[in-house]
Amino acid sequence: MRLADTLRFARDAATGYPLRTALSVLAMAIGVAAVVILTALGDGARRYVVNQFSAIGTNLVSVLPGRSGTGGFNPANAITSTPRDLTIDDAVALRRAPAVSRVAPLAVGTSEISYGGRLREVMVAGSTHEFAAIRNFEIAQGQVLPDEDWNRGSAVAVIGAKIREELFGNNPAVGQVVRVGDRRLRIIGVLKPMGQGLGMNTDELVLVPVALAQAMFNSNTLFRILVEAKNREAIPEAKDQTMEILKQRHRGEEDVTVITQDAVLATFDKLLGTLTLGVAGIAAISLAVAGILVMNVMLVAVTQRTGEIGLLKALGATDRTIRLAFLAEAAMLSAVGALIGYLLGQLGAFGLRQAFPVFPAYPPDWAVIAGLGTALGTGLLFGVMPARRAARLDPVQALMKH
């Protein structure tokens, strides 16, 4: 039998039993749609996180006080039990590193801000002039923190968009004096609204000079030092130099942790990539189930059409012709199911993107290809057994069934 005739024959046979065909196509479609939508979710999460990290600043190296991870026994550790704090002077020293372009110390704490009888709790971040540039913060009104001696700390503040709105409403904020804790600070700038980011919500942040923040919280330690490498290639170098300088300043002890943005990003990327893969695997199980359903449907078809198979044999059909006809029917069921499932999945992903615009829910190409491939593969694989059974039927026995 010619290929076109085989396909037409299989199509007519499939459409001859609409309910049965529709159900197996539906099962296959659900399986493929599940793969597409679930991987779109997983990969969307991955992209979302990667984007968030990129927004923080890509060439960033963060210095944390204290050593993370366990090393072997170190005599230096044995003598000094507590790690040294990070200080503003540490941060100043890092500016000398050749691979580093900018440095910003960061001290954080919570306090209260009040203006005109309104009072609210805020997160206060103490830093310097370059902090906004390193973290990619944009200024809506006024200016960023002044470029001054890091140990000085003028009585000024830059506030987040939400705080401005809550305290000042429609009135201008820049130039006004607010009370933060027990200090009176003049507002010199307002940040552009950025929404919820990783780490801190900048819309509800009050930025003050780092020395001022330390004075307010009565401490001389830093929460972080943010170091920006000159470029992407200089990141490892910047990391090494940072470590070296701090080690010297801390009398040879590696009592700080230096994290590159890349490493964090890579970890999240890997983590969420694996998650997507896992989700795809779970969805693929539904594809296997759909494949088994196609097999079931085809086995029923062979039983229902036993008489017809006998007739075809009497009319001169070879075993191969009958096998191909039934295999083509199984392949058709899964192909149509896979196609419908793919469209449904893309529609679902589109719906997700419409509902959550910040969430880039695009199914990854590998998942789409693997999903469609698995659907067709299982359909064919599970179609083989019924097709062989049909071809092996004894013509006399088959003809007796009608």
Partner: protein
């Protein structure tokens, strides 16, 4: 020349512990262009003989030569080819494929044989005209009368221009008048040179054949061409 030559054909079935001899030591020769009726009670081996002649079944022993060629030793695919090109079947219950139109049903043997659509269409159109089914070509079997269905089935059986037509109770599901029409049709085909073997219960129809075979217990009880056979 003998179209069919059966020598020492045995066909046994195992029914539980008992061995049933559906055909036992059967020798039979049918010449080209003959018109043979096979008669006999149920279980006499008529259908088994027909299946064997149609290469749907294999004998346990003996040889079957079709057009001088031993066909019992052929592979299943070669047998399928012989069925496709040399043998046409007409069944009691017509056996049309319900989802296909009359034209598609007639074309089915050609489709299975891989004949291109263009040639198929030409031959189907000819057949439809020849069997008076021109305006029934797009009808499905359930839209046709019994007589029309059997005419479609006969058109299908002859579309590959076989040498042999095997008809199993071709009028069994038809009333007397349409049955008569169908028999006339088959006889016309025989007159054009096709060998016709009809299995029937109907004495009147059997009597119309030029040669009658009567079977009993898997043996030939009588053969009008040779006079009564001896039992055993």
């Amino acid at each position: 020349m003998a179209l069919i030559e059966l020598t020492g054909i045995e066909r046994t079935f195992q029914l539980g512990d008992a061995t049933v001899h559906a055909l036992a030591g059967l020798d039979l020769q049918i010449d080209n262009g003959e018109y043979v009726a096979v008669m006999g009670p149920s279980g006499s081996g008529k259908s088994t003989l027909l299946n064997l002649l149609g290469l749907l079944d294999r004998p346990n022993a003996g040889s079957y030569r079709l057009e001088g060629r031993d066909v019992t030793t052929l592979s299943p695919d070669e047998q399928a080819r012989v069925r496709s090109e040399r043998i046409g079947f007409v069944f009691q219950s017509f056996r049309l494929v319900p989802r296909l139109t009359a034209a598609e049903n007639i074309a089915l043997p050609m489709t299975l044989a891989g004949i291109p659509a263009k040639e198929r269409n030409a031959r189907v159109a000819e057949a439809l005209a020849g069997f008076g089914l021109e305006n029934r070509s797009d009808h499905r079997p359930d839209q046709l009368s019994g007589g029309q269905r059997q005419r479609v089935a006969i058109a299908r059986a002859t579309i590959m221009q076989p040498a042999l037509i095997l008809a199993d109770e071709p009028t069994g599901n038809l009333d007397r008048h349409t049955g008569e029409e169908v028999v006339n049709l088959l006889e016309a085909l025989n007159a054009s040179g096709v060998t016709l073997v009809v299995v029937t219960h109907d004495q009147a129809m059997g009597a119309r054949a030029r040669r009658q075979l009567v079977m009993e217990d898997g043996r030939l009880k009588s053969d009008s061409a040779r006079g009564a056979c001896e039992a055993g």
